[in-house]
Amino acid sequence: MNVSTQTWIVVADDPAVSGLVTTARGLGGAVSAVVVGRKSVADSVARAGVDEVLWLGEPGDGAPVEAYAGEVARVLAEAGAAPLAVVGATTPAGRALLGAVAARFQVPVLAGLRGATLEGDAVVVERSVLGGIAERRVQVVGGPSVLAVAAGGVTDEGTAAAVREVPAQPLGAARVTDVRVKEQTGVDLGAARAVVAVGRGLKAQADLDLITDLAAAAGAELACSRPLAEGVDWVAKERYIGISGQHIAPELYVAVGISGQLQHMVGVRDAKVVVAINSDKAAPVFAQCDYGIVGDLYEVVPALAAALRAGS
């Protein structure tokens, strides 16, 4: 297959594309976008730093964005030489577009991206695999590199690329009949500036009050390691950090009574500052933290909450 230097981003009715554009731009060549969804999204993407936008038209008759996935793949396949890379978002709709593209070109979807660079004329991808416990440098030879990345935010580069409408025919299998705005009951650990997590060092569920108090003093969300969410159900599962749980990158992460097993620590590897509190000076977490206090959490946690309040 003749592979060009052209990179595409595929957009599922979501103007937050900075993560896609950054990855695509990093590969050097021209960056075009295929946008499914509203015209306003296509216009926004046009200002996000791409060279060209192909817009599949205003969705009619309640077709979900996923109904256009096959058309996105067709547009890429018919755009001339096979793309160097196709970048999409890890969102539910993003994965549907990427799945159609991967199936069209019969190539893998590379998620868990930590970096993608052009070496010679090949895209070399650094990625986390298996929930983050291992890493691989890989390349795809014989087809486009299809990359799934975090969507990022909305950006405006000041200039707008041309938006060209391309006719497309969605699948008619489903029609949206209702959208209701969610009550905000969920936890968004990913958006938290600071997170205080607790592990098996906690002796009783009632002692969680100590940790929630520290979290309140630090302006942080509460989180936990796996045993507290799945072993004993002391903390909601959405608050569990680790390979099959949340992966977060807060400014401050405080691990209380958590030993620092790899399967947990990969969930916070991108945190800016990691603090550990543990009574066991040999706990692996102390080799993976910026600041550690070796001491009894039942003494250190209240003292820390008090110190935080005293200073604020």
């Binding site: 996935a69 799945g99 070399v124 969610k182 990969v266 509190i277 910026d290 206090i293 070796v294």
Partner: protein, 257 residues
């Protein structure tokens, strides 16, 4: 209504050992029905019971996905029958290749109205295979499905999306990836497991399926994630108050507060 549940028999990375070169030792991890898939089994069963349909389990992978234990584990969770493609040539298959084999198997099962799957697998955890399967089939693929219920002329799908709870009327074939809270899966009892042994299992040879060639990624190198490259300032907590004060001062200096 004929519903296929595409499920995965996979080990849990929680039990894996990772060497510095990134190679993964699975010897302490046992295969099991991937932890999000029982929800798909249950959702399919409820839908089929409401519509008078059939639930067909489908899994593809290495030969080990077709042990007696694996069969019972799947069939005891509400399936009517099972279709298995178990071949060691699929041992290291990536998601696109697995999706290609799944798609070929769905076609060979024939007259399938709906494919359900768990939103993500326990081992790979990327949530991509169901959507790539939809791509391979040329069907509508939707993830984040939080509810599937019958309606007069098809199925009502509820999705938990960032933009809100979205309800759709589904009339055509689709691949739906269901979230963990879509339904509460059953815990198989002794009678379920005994019943499982009586249900038909069809073993489909890989070579009997029309599977397109899939380009695999080439691994150049591997590593264990670096989680230890940090400052490592350790404070003795024997005096909790002074340790706390020292930490708060350090965090302020580092602008972490």
């Amino acid at each position: 209504m004929k519903i296929v549940v595409a499920y995965k028999w996979a080990p849990n990375p929680q039990d894996a050992e990772v060497a510095p070169d990134g190679s993964v030792d699975w010897s302490r991890a046992k295969g099991a029905v991937s932890e999000y898939d029982p929800v798909a089994f249950e959702a399919a069963r409820q839908l089929a019971d409401a519509t008078g349909g059939e639930v067909v389990g489908l899994t593809v992978g290495a030969a080990s996905v077709d042990s007696p234990l694996a069969r019972k584990a799947a069939l005891s969770r509400g399936l009517d029958r099972l279709v298995v493609v178990a071949d060691d040539r699929l041992a290291d298959a990536d998601g696109t290749r697995l999706a290609a084999v799944l798609a070929a198997a769905v076609r060979s099962i024939g007259d399938v109205d709906l494919v359900l799957a768990g939103d993500s697998s326990v081992d790979v955890a990327e949530g991509q295979v169901p959507m790539t399967l939809a791509g391979q089939l040329g069907w509508l693929g939707m993830a984040a499905v939080s509810g599937v219920t019958p309606s007069a002329d098809g199925v009502v799908v509820e999705r938990d999306l960032p933009g809100g709870i979205t309800t759709l009327a589904l009339t055509g074939p689709a691949v739906l990836a269901v979230t963990t809270d879509a339904v509460v899966p059953r815990v198989p009892g002794m009678k379920d497991i005994l019943g499982a042994a009586k249900k038909p299992v069809e073993v489909v040879p890989l070579d009997a399926l029309e599977v397109p060639d899939v380009v695999a990624a080439t691994t150049l190198s591997g590593s264990r994630p670096e989680t230890g490259n940090r400052r490592g300032v350790i404070i003795d907590g024997a005096d909790a108050s002074s340790a706390a004060a020292e930490l708060v001062a350090a965090l302020r200096t580092a602008r972490a507060l």
